[in-house]
């Protein structure tokens, strides 16, 4: 056994000291402060909810208590997307169900998903959670959420809450972008390898292995795998696509909407030739700021092109959205077709719902404690 010990030591000595991030302390303290704020918020919420419950019970306002019952079987994209308030509760149960939208809240710096069927906002406490916007990707079917931290890639199943972890390796020492393929069964990543050179790859997330062209890594490949929608970082008058071997094709944006041009970022393919993009237009455009659009790709004759504003109201200030594009309905050819669903004001309703649940929880806990006290005080026979 001493030989085994010696061999273990020799083996261990072959490991060089591993580098540790310089900002580790700052990250840990930020995380600790967030936890303390949550505890304080929870205490305040309990006090507020007990008071609020008493008020509601007193005034008999049944309408307020039964609000937010609107659900869409199969799910839908919400007609507006808002940033969440800082005091929205954080959930550690990641089995939140199919979602329509995901983004990193600029207020709380936490990942937020919106329920596909009920439009509810949920702020998630993800393990090793993302800290940079744009490194969070919701699958086109809304069932998986992927994120990256340095070279580490995580994927969770939003229906079961189960996670999959891809540790950093020689190929992905740092990940810059994550994108789902249209079938929701492969994740494309780009980043840098251990030597700091550009790299990219494909992670299979269930389903059959499939071959993609290298040009797929430039953005989000179409379901036919013939075109890849690519981000345009500079303000311009067109959306960019890449053909096989990376040759660029431009698709003009409507000049009446954006006389000074706009930037575009693809979010996914709703159909074989229809892509959803997050467009950001400068002030004095007809449609200013960030919004989501549905547009035809340039491999279709221009006479058949469509350009629809999908969601006008979305968080601004560089918030990158990720969308379950499979929830966009097939176009019926009419301009009056509703492509999104108005879920009302789920954030206001949720806060009311949460206060009710907390109120009832506190009442239940008090009941249990009083019951225990009674039991303990009962004399032994």
């Amino acid at each position: 056994m001493n030989d085994l010990r010696t061999t273990f030591r020799r083996l261990a000595d072959s490991a060089e000291p591993l580098p540790v991030s310089d900002d580790l302390w700052q990250r840990a303290q930020a995380s600790r402060r967030r936890g303390q704020v949550l505890v304080a918020a929870a205490v305040l919420a309990i006090i507020a909810s007990v008071t609020w419950s008493a008020v509601l019970l007193g005034c008999g306002d049944r309408e307020a208590r039964t609000a937010s019952t609107d659900t869409v079987p199969g799910g839908a994209i919400p007609s507006r997307i808002d940033d969440v308030p800082a005091d929205l509760p954080v959930t550690t149960d990641l089995a939140v169900g199919r979602s329509s939208v995901a983004f990193l809240s600029p207020t709380s710096m936490r990942p937020v998903v919106i329920g596909a069927e009920d439009g509810r906002y949920r702020q998630l406490d993800l393990p090793d959670g993302p800290t940079e916007t744009g490194k969070l990707a919701l699958s086109p079917d809304g069932k998986h959420l992927a994120w990256a931290v340095l070279g580490r890639i995580h994927v969770i199943d939003l229906e079961t809450g189960e996670g999959t972890f891809f540790p950093a390796n020689d190929e992905h020492r740092d990940v810059d972008t994550l994108a789902w393929t249209p079938g929701s069964d492969h994740l494309l990543w780009t980043g840098t390898d251990r030597d700091g050179k550009d790299s990219g790859g494909l992670l299979p997330i269930g389903g059959e292995s499939e071959v993609f062209r290298t040009s797929a890594l430039l953005g989000i490949p179409s379901p036919t795998n013939e075109l890849t929608a690519v981000s345009t970082l500079e303000v311009g008058d067109s959306a960019t696509f890449a053909q096989q071997r990376g040759k660029r094709v431009e698709r003009a944006l409507p000049t009446d909407l954006y006389p000074q041009g706009a930037t575009t970022r693809p979010l996914g393919w709703a159909q074989d030739h229809l892509v959803v993009e997050q467009v950001d237009a400068p002030p004095e455009s007809y449609v200013e700021g960030a919004h989501l659009v549905l547009l035809t790709s340039p491999d279709v004759p221009e006479s058949e092109w469509t350009y629809r504003i999908l969601v006008r109201d979305v968080p601004q200030d560089g918030v990158v959205l990720s969308l379950a594009v499979d929830l966009v309905p097939d176009l019926d050819g009419t301009s009056s077709q509703q492509l999104t669903h108005d879920f009302g004001d789920p954030l206001a309703d949720q806060q009311r719902d949460v206060s009710w649940m907390i109120g009832l929880g506190v009442a239940g806990a008090i009941g249990v404690l009083m019951g225990l006290r009674r039991l303990l005080r009962r004399p032994l026979r």
């Binding site: 056994m1 083996l11 490991a15 000291p17 591993l18 840990a28 995380s31 090793d128 390796n169 790859g201």
Partner: protein, 166 residues
Amino acid sequence: MITDDEAGFAEFVAGRQAALSRTAYLLTGDHHLAQDLVQAALLQAAKHWRRIHTSPEAYVRRAMYHQNISWWRRRRHVTEMSLGAYDGASTSPDTDLRLTLDEALGHLTTKQRTVLVLRFYEDLTEVETARALGLSTSTVKSTTRHALARLRTLAPELAELIGADA
């Protein structure tokens, strides 16, 4: 401005980084995983520094043991492919069938590997190992026995190192 706590943490990291790296490498068998493991454990330590600053090493080591087992549970069914793998030529199988201890450890479960590292590298007793991993002493005993038996089967040439009846 650096606080006393931050300075204490930095001093601990500077002093123990190499030792923690060695343990992490033995636990994972992979430099990248080991780096992630050390990083994750130190992040936890920094979060709870005020509570653990009197004996941080025990806390960090325990965090590494638990984190490693937990990661293994989550990734055991996953295989990763790179895009280039579709086009690249496949490598010929390794013809050298003799396993080194490092390679043989890679064939154990993470729990078995962790128990062996604690017993034969960290020199913990069975009771201490059980306490560190939150297991019973009898589980540690049986896991050690099974792990050594597996090493003997995988790599008979290591029998001399391992012993015949451990």
